[in-house]
Symmetry: C2
Subunit: 409 residues, 2 copies
């Protein structure tokens, strides 16, 4: 019998207990012994839960029990989860988590504590929910230099954008719809402002850079709140979908990472991820493009990844980190985003002349007008299709007549 504890009995924590119960025979066969949840630490009571008897408010029942060697942290946030994770790791217990905020904020320190205490801090579920992505990148793609990651890593925003594209709803209506279905929080900022995606691309970028830590708070990030029904119409006419992409690129001129809405051609595999689905395309210098697709959130899907990590931890009790050790690099890890070449679709008032655009963006190739209607026009700047490649400052918001700006993938 192998005992674990769950910290925080919310949606994912409860899902972990359920998946372990649901598949207990398979898991026992694989591990050669039964896997059991011994304790669930939470300040709340859950009298209706089939796991009610396991719930405790006393943290020493988890951290001081030598019988518990693996701890699942599904508290979320970076305060109590941070304290408890440090406590568990310091006691030599491997911690498995889905907490992207904590991993992306304190990963370097927590991995060091794990290392010093001969245990592991593992987090397959922190990006892409149930989709295998972190271990495959670290292990299966180990022989590659990772040149690019482009991912739809936030299901809430993808649902909102899909609704806007399919039903013609505006942003506010689509957000309300997402909230009514439980896909968006009452305070949706972390999703719609791109913060969640920012944390996830910071984790993937750090892995792509063999552990050189990428601070999420330093990343250029634009959410989806400014996307309008008009943008959706333009996208449709261009046979494209608007997707919030989290992007990492490692080029000769430097590495870049950012989060922003993008036009993605409907012929591109990433465009097949609709509703709450996630899809992450990873480009390696040997493997080319590989894509991972699935449910990026949800109770059982996320729990699936957590339970996979728990089983790995049980099978490999000693040090067997599933990512290269993270560290704070002394030199800057990412290049300034202004040096990154992208192409964009700009929506402007018709009154802005082509000359004004040329003046605002010197040295940039510009197809003067893609569409023009109802007092607006759209132009494409930068490399795209027949346009010449051109350097384009990504901080286009400074040009104050822009109605919207969407990067082109």
């Amino acid at each position: 019998m192998k005992n674990i504890a769950i910290l925080g009995f919310g949606v994912v924590g409860c899902g972990v207990a359920e998946v372990i119960e649901m598949n207990k025979d398979r898991i026992a066969k694989r591990l050669g012994e039964e896997l059991a949840v011994k304790k669930i630490l939470d300040i709340r009571e859950f009298p209706e839960s089939p796991f009610a008897a396991l719930v405790t408010t006393k943290k020493e029942e988890v951290f001081e029990d030598p019988d518990i060697s693996v701890v699942v942290e599904t508290i979320g946030g970076a305060r109590i989860a941070y304290e408890y994770t440090k406590m568990a790791l310091s006691a030599g217990k491997t911690v498995v988590t889905s907490n992207k905020e904590l991993v992306s904020t304190h990963g370097v320190e927590l991995m060091k504590i794990a290392h010093d205490n001969h245990c592991n801090y593992i987090f397959e579920a922190a990006v892409g929910g149930g989709i295998p992505i972190i271990r495959p990148m670290h292990r299966c793609l180990a022989g590659n230099k990772i040149e690019r990651i482009a991912g739809i890593v936030n299901g809430t925003t993808n649902y909102i954008l899909t609704q806007m594209a399919e039903s013609g709803a505006d942003f506010d209506a689509a957000l309300k719809e997402a909230q009514s279905k439980g896909y968006a929080e009452a305070n949706p900022s972390a999703d719609i402002d791109g913060i969640d995606a920012q944390r996830k691309i910071s984790i993937l970028s750090t892995i792509a850079l063999d552990g050189a830590y990428v601070d999420p708070t330093k990343l250029f990030t634009v959410g989806i709140t400014s996307i309008t029904t008009k943008d959706m119409e333009y996208a449709k006419e261009m046979n494209a979908s608007i997707k919030l992409l989290a992007v990492f690129e490692n080029k000769e001129e430097g590495a870049f990472a950012f989060v922003a809405p993008h036009l993605v051609s409907k012929d591109h595999p990433l465009a097949c991820a609709n509703d709450v689905f996630n899809a992450i395309m990873v480009t390696g210098n040997a493997v080319g493009d590989v894509m991972f697709y699935g449910q990026g959130a949800g109770k059982l899907a996320t729990a699936s990844a957590v339970v996979g990590d728990v089983m790995d931890a049980v099978e490999h009790q000693s040090r067997n980190a599933h990512v290269a050790e993270w560290y704070e690099s002394e030199s800057p890890v990412l290049s300034p985003i202004e040096e990154h070449v992208v192409s964009v679709l700009l929506r402007l008032p018709s009154s802005v002349s082509d000359d004004a655009i040329a003046e605002a963006f010197p040295e940039i190739s510009c197809q003067p007008c893609v569409y023009e209607a109802e007092g607006e026009k759209a132009v494409i700047l930068g490399k795209n299709g027949d346009l010449n490649e051109a350097k384009l400052a990504i901080g286009l918001e400074s040009f104050d007549e822009i109605l919207s700006v969407i990067r082109i993938f």
Copy 2:
């Protein structure tokens, strides 16, 4: 310095040497020591190759060198590769391979030899080329019961089907085109008759069944040679693509595996895999649908997976199998395919009456006619859309007036 040997210096073997050279700095940083190809065993000489000096015809230089702990087998086939793999494993050397024929034919025995000699037999590259699939299934999805696998696992046939759909070419013309581009062999049987796909689904099915061996030669398999331009037209009208799918299903009534052409709705993520790309959708009872997409063949892509395995082998010298041990089950692993419910599109001469169809397939719901033109008609049998679910023997070829039969995914 960590030394390895490559057996068989064909396309993939050469790719492995190239990837190790191309990414040597990254690999050394990750492993903490340099990874070097010490010997390449082949009966041929390669005077033009930058690796010419490493080539030897003497097998003892590989098998008796204690300095070589990992051996890459890229000979292919199940004769010499089989002998050499046994030799290497018996000498305690971990063998990494892309050889689906050998794995699917002798996997049980080879894994046992590896086990007995405290080394590993690993084969991420055997399915999906560079796409991470075997390790993610075993490790990341460990907490799931695998309920279904549906994969486009053969790039050659996918290229031919894509060409037929896009250019209107018939099968023979599309095959010639594939051959001229190097995507199909001079003798293309293993690809177009579904044998390659059969081997790959046998490997994935065995993994899904926690090691209970699925013999590829027992699987119901239909290739793509009978697909006509008419089938392509019907598919287009139904907003579907024709894809050669390798399918595994584990249902209450039993487990099934087979290979056959399928109609796949263009809205389904699998339909986004065109040309030589592969895509494999895995459905777990916790994670739901996850899909893995990428180049399923090719020199560097396949080598990417081999090198990932080699690095894993170097980092984990002791037993660390990347699949559960395979075994021959005493009871049948798969149920008879006749018990499996599918729906199909049948193309028939117009002269076959609805009554004749009803008589040939009693107790099967049948939408009498989907299309009718030029002396032919197409009917859908079985569960699909509004049709009731019905049991349908998959061996429809026995009904001798059928012009073509395509399963519906």
